[in-house]
């Protein structure tokens, strides 16, 4: 069905240049994202940062999930050449879920609790393809197998509260990949999972991304996770990208914020009497 991509890379799937996002709050406009730029091809790009850094905001802006009161401005914000800034709601509807998908953090909250999981996956397919229900069901079962769920027939009929966290997240992945999107945005997909399950879910995700030649944006606060899983990383602080580097180069990061974050993490292998505390330099906030 899908062969690994061998054609030469054309223009990047996603182009973001100088993205600014401002929210209207009762206390005045809040400048949540300041001048973020990146391109995404068929790779795993991580956007890393702490809470309030704006990483999730960027992810949601790509799918235009922000309320109308939010001001999203950029020199370029394009998916496969389509300008997302001026895209109409119909264009976005055709894009969302079909060509660009999103996985969120906690399957407890992102799956509909009153609909069986298999049904939800099938409906995700039916939303964008006009096929008989039986075919959608077959495709849903095939997706469940591809996310390594051992008993797809049984799991198809379960409700979200009957599945564990790791399985729920794999179901989410199945649901978001069944329409064969080209770009997948994963917003902290493993943060709510136990450490052993986390690896399994990442494995599944990595395999699917590789097989189908997807572009993946992986939003996370966990630098260590990103180092092992992704190809490139963007480090965000206070709405800005402070560093952009290959994931394997993270331990050789240069920006003091990234170094500070790496140093502040307690580690099994690198035990210290005191954890170095990150000193926030106001100079990092300079535009």
């Amino acid at each position: 069905m899908h062969s690994p991509v061998s054609e030469p890379p054309l223009r990047p799937k996603l182009q973001v240049d100088d993205l600014h996002i401002r929210f209207a709050t009762p206390d005045g406009p809040m400048h949540a994202v300041r001048g973020v730029s990146f391109n995404l091809s068929r790779e795993k790009l991580a956007i890393v940062g702490e809470s309030g850094s704006g990483k999730s905001t960027v992810g949601r802006a790509l799918l235009k999930l922000h309320p109308h009161s939010a001001r999203v401005e950029a020199r370029t914000l394009a998916f496969d050449g389509i300008d997302l800034l001026t895209a109409s709601p119909w264009t976005m509807q055709a894009l969302r879920g079909k060509r660009m998908s999103m996985i969120m953090q906690d399957p407890k909250y992102s799956l509909n609790p009153v609909v069986r999981v298999g049904q939800q996956i099938a409906e995700a397919y039916l939303a964008h393809h006009d096929v008989p229900r039986a075919e959608a069901r077959e495709r849903a079962l095939a997706m469940l197998e591809s996310v390594r769920i051992r008993d797809p027939q049984r799991v198809f009929d379960l409700y979200p509260h009957e599945v564990s966290g790791g399985m729920g997240q794999r179901i989410m992945i199945a649901m978001m990949l069944i329409t064969e999107p080209e770009v997948l945005i994963a917003d902290e997909p493993t943060s709510a999972l136990d450490v052993s399950v986390r690896l399994q879910v990442l494995d599944v995700l990595g395999e699917l991304v590789r097989e189908r030649g997807l572009g993946l944006i992986f939003i996370s606060h966990d630098l260590n996770l990103v180092r092992h899983f992704c190809d490139r990383a963007l480090v965000m602080y206070a709405g800005r990208v402070v560093e952009s580097l290959a994931a394997t180069d993270l331990d050789r990061a240069e920006h003091p914020y990234t170094r500070g974050l790496l140093g502040a993490m307690p580690s099994l292998d690198h035990r210290r009497a005191r954890l170095p505390v990150l000193r926030r330099d106001p100079a990092w906030l300079a535009d």
């Binding site: 709050t25 809040m30 602080y237 206070a238 906030l285």
Partner: protein
């Protein structure tokens, strides 16, 4: 974005409160500002403020004695001398309306003062303790709630005899169960909160936890509910008055005024329209204030 000692995103004032009183005041001011942002709420607040003023200054606002009869002036249409006309005994309706506001406020205030604490206490105890306490209190509440409000009020007044104070008791007896139910529902989820567990760990007695931890969290919903209840109380009181079971004649209670004005309603619309409008406006105002309060007191918006 976050320096080590300053606050996070939402505080507006950079002033740090120096005392407990100042902290509370700052909070109140912020709440008031948010309340007054909604034009509908402001309208409600204005109407009630006018009501309070009118009730307070009744003897000076009313041009005539509300009880003074003048049969030669009976059933006059609204005019320059009588703004809302006169009733069948020649009494100035405007003056009666103004004095009637005192009765209405009396009923509303008294009922609220009884119903609020009782409902809060019963509900919070039932929710917090659970078990047999919950069962006992809720079955009592169920008994009261299963009767329609007006019917139960009627029954009580019939048993106790007509009169303003008896009407107040009757209405209070029917108005507390919903408050208790509301308080219980919230207390049920609050009792597992970490700060309650922390208080228990510190050795706080159940009474202390109920009063200091649980009750303040219930206040928002209870206050909103009480405010919206006020409209209902007014309507039930008017209903009782209409049936002759509330304030007795010649007291200028609004419901009683509508009742006695019924007979002349077709030709003399002002007899019924004036008190009717008053009841409607005040009920609406309470509802609007309740809505506004709910918007600002909703814990999710904090």
């Amino acid at each position: 974005m976050m320096a080590s000692t300053t606050t996070t995103t939402t505080t507006t004032s950079s002033r740090m409160p120096d005392s407990a009183a100042e902290a509370v005041l700052l909070n109140l001011r912020q709440g008031l500002r948010r309340l007054l942002r909604n034009p509908m709420t402001v309208a409600g607040v204005l109407v009630i403020a006018v009501l309070l003023l009118v009730a307070l200054l009744a003897p000076w606002i009313a041009a005539y004695d509300p009880l003074e009869q003048n049969l030669k002036q009976a059933l006059r249409a609204p005019s320059h001398a009588n703004w809302f006309g006169t009733d069948e005994y020649g009494r100035d309706i405007f003056s009666r309306l103004v004095h009637g506001s005192r009765i209405s406020l009396y009923i509303i205030a008294l009922v609220t003062v009884i119903v609020g604490p009782v409902g809060l206490a019963v509900g919070s105890m039932a929710g917090y303790f659970g078990g047999w306490v919950d069962n006992l209190f809720m079955r009592i509440t169920d008994i009261f709630i299963s009767f329609p409000g007006l019917v139960l009020a009627l029954a009580f007044v019939a048993a106790l005899g007509p009169g303003l104070d008896h009407a107040v008791i009757a209405i209070a007896l029917t108005a507390w169960p919903p408050i208790a139910r509301l308080a219980r529902a919230e207390a049920l989820s609050l009792r597992h909160a970490d700060y309650v567990v922390a208080a228990q760990l510190q050795g706080a007695s159940s009474a202390r936890i109920l009063v200091r931890c649980i009750a303040p969290m219930l206040m928002s919903s209870v206050v909103v509910r009480l405010t919206m209840n006020m409209a209902n109380v007014l309507l039930i009181a008017a209903g009782l008055g209409f049936l002759g079971l509330g304030a007795q004649p010649p007291a200028p209670e609004w419901g009683a005024m509508i009742s006695s004005g019924r007979r002349y309603m077709i030709e003399c619309w002002w007899l019924v329209a004036a008190p009717g409008m008053a009841i409607m406006l005040v009920s609406l105002a309470f509802n609007l204030i309740g809505d506004g309060l709910r918007d600002i007191l909703d814990p999710r918006s904090e």
